[in-house]
């Protein structure tokens, strides 16, 4: 199948475009656009509700009682929630950077080369996605505790905390990044790299100027996925955390005793606002 299409490619590039009847495109096009908007509405509808309820004067996140900024005031006087947010950001940020680098490298290796033990490596890459959260959480906790005691004997003791949470998050995030990057790399057209090499570019330059830009959308997608998963993880984080390393999800899940209040909506709203400002800001900077 693909060989047919590949042979079509050069000819198609020149001829197509103008030959197509305009109307046929615009119908498909319109459907695609409708779908785009529907999906975006789907993504943002709960977010709109969430933002509205951050201004609720009532205590409950699902019954509107009146407008108030009380929950924002409460949020700003809450030192603990700020610390939890900080911890979450550190964990998600660091684990995303590490797992994106390692996940991209391993994806390149897996898609480029055949080697003995590839099937085992493949399995090892899928298992962190497959394993039930709770099993991974408990086993990592047991492992960290044992390792900590063992290392303490030779003077390298460590305790549970942000470090162990990050180690655990990297362990599952590598897999998510690798899957996304591999989807980009599969059937990667090697002719461009070979052309670069023929022009006497060294390996690094070939990678830097040819391969990397080509797979960048995959890397960006993988990184976004890793960051999102890490930011919202509860089970694994809970079991690998220690004193002083409570993250936002841990704090929020633990509100069940007294009920989740619109304070969390207020926090989420501010986080959304901050990310929007960051995204649009970086976009504006790039434009210059």
């Amino acid at each position: 199948m693909s060989s047919v299409t590949t042979s079509l490619a050069p000819a198609a590039k020149v001829e197509s475009a103008t030959a197509l009847p305009r109307r046929a495109i615009s119908l498909t096009e319109r459907l695609l656009q409708v779908n785009l908007w529907l999906v975006f509405i789907f993504f943002y509808a709960p977010i709109a509700v969430l933002i509205i309820f951050s201004f609720n004067s009532g205590r409950v996140v699902s019954q509107w009682e009146g407008f108030s900024l009380a929950w924002y005031a409460k949020l700003f006087s809450n030192r603990d929630i700020g610390l939890a947010l900080y911890n979450s950001m550190v964990v998600a940020g660091v684990s995303t950077v590490i797992s994106t680098i390692m996940g991209t490298l391993v994806a390149l290796g897996m898609e480029r080369f055949d080697f003995r033990g590839k099937l085992s490596m493949d399995s090892m890459l899928y298992l962190p996605i497959i394993i039930p959260d709770i099993a991974m959480a408990v086993m990592l906790l047991l492992f960290f505790v044992q390792a900590g005691q063992l290392l303490a004997r030779i003077g390298f003791g460590f305790s549970l905390g942000l470090g162990t949470i990050i180690l655990a998050h990297v362990a599952f995030n590598i897999s998510y990044v690798a899957v996304v990057v591999r989807a980009r790399l599969a059937d990667f057209d090697k002719s461009l790299e070979e052309a670069a090499r023929d022009l006497y570019a060294n390996e690094w330059n070939t990678f830097r100027y040819v391969t990397l830009p080509l797979i960048m959308p995959g890397i960006l997608g993988g990184a976004l996925l890793a960051f999102t998963i890490s930011l919202d993880d509860f089970v694994v984080t809970f079991f690998t955390s220690g004193p002083g390393s409570t993250t936002l999800p841990l704090r929020i899940y633990s509100m069940v005793k007294t009920g989740i209040t619109p304070e969390i909506n207020a926090l989420s709203t501010l986080m959304l606002l901050a990310s929007m400002v960051l995204v649009l800001g970086s976009l504006a900077l790039q434009r210059k």
Partner: protein, 295 residues
């Protein structure tokens, strides 16, 4: 497809060694990391799965395989089946919604706009999961916006029961996992030369055939990666079904988590996890290879 092995044969002996070094450099760090922080701890689960639960939930070091036998109980198998069907349904709905969406974004001319759209997909998910789920409860409530609109437009005369139904569960799951489908699909579709589509349209004179014979096969790696990322995690999902579906059924995720927490039967929970992992891993590898071959 056939071009790849050929270039391998042509490798000169000196490049062989370079290649080995490259493999080590690319795969080595992750292999070591996962061995230490995943496979090694995993052995703990494996060993536990052969132990026994003590009266107070402590471990008793008596080796046996009873935990594995217990998994094959019709009660548990029916739960597994239900979770499987739900995950499959979720994957299909996600695929249908995400594909045209990813395709549209992939064709946007400006690379910066593309990246912006990608980030905009993820931003909603940087809010807390519980809060998002509660928001869905508001939307689907009997006096929520959906029912309000339908009532006001006269399409219905009685509020529809949406919340605490299977419909709500599917909506919640699709919402939670849609980005997992969009990202790999986008990554795979974006590299496709779209003039191929137009050329194919010329040849087949039918957009659907062009999609089926050209675009879809070329985007297959994304479809596979996306369905793996959606199907597997949603197989273990249970908080969304509980909160939106009313927790009137048990999911495989509840069952396993319950063994580690409420029942404190770690050996049984471990055995269940090990079996589930083996089954899903086998299916994944087969699916992946098959998908890979059709290309």
């Amino acid at each position: 497809m056939t071009a790849v092995p050929v270039s391998k044969i042509e490798l000169k002996p000196t490049r062989r060694r370079v290649e080995t070094l490259q493999i080590l450099g690319l795969i080595g760090p992750t292999a070591l990391y996962l061995l230490l922080f995943f496979v090694f701890p995993l052995l703990i689960v494996f060993v536990y799965s052969f132990l026994k639960r003590g009266v107070y939930g402590q471990l008793v070091w008596e080796f046996n395989v009873l935990n594995y036998v217990r998994v094959f109980d019709t009660l548990y198998l029916s739960i597994l089946w239900r979770s499987f069907v739900l995950a499959l349904l979720n994957t299909l709905v996600c695929l249908v919604l995400a594909y045209p969406f990813a395709y549209y974004i992939a064709r946007v001319e400006n690379a910066r706009t593309r990246n912006l759209l990608l980030v905009l997909i993820m931003v909603p998910f940087w809010t807390n999961f519980l809060i998002r789920t509660y928001a869905w409860r508001v939307i689907l409530a009997n006096d929520g916006p959906i029912n309000l609109i339908l009532l006001n437009t006269g399409l219905i005369s009685q509020p529809l029961q949406l919340i605490f139904t299977n419909f709500a569960v599917v909506v919640g799951l699709v919402y939670g996992y849609l980005p997992f489908m969009v990202l790999p699909l986008y990554a795979a579709i974006e590299r496709i030369d779209f003039s191929l589509m137009e050329a194919a349209s010329d040849l087949y004179a039918n957009g659907w055939q062009a999609f089926r014979k050209v675009l879809f096969p070329l985007s297959m790696p994304g479809v596979i990666a996306g369905s793996i990322l959606v199907f597997i995690p949603s197989l273990g999902a249970f908080v969304t079904p509980d909160l939106l579906g009313g927790a009137k059924t048990v999911m495989i995720g509840n069952l396993i988590q319950g063994q580690f927490l409420t029942s404190r039967d770690w050996p049984f929970g471990s055995a269940f996890s090990v079996l589930l992992m083996l089954m899903v891993l086998g299916a994944t590898l087969i699916y992946f290879r098959k998908g890979g071959r059709t290309l």
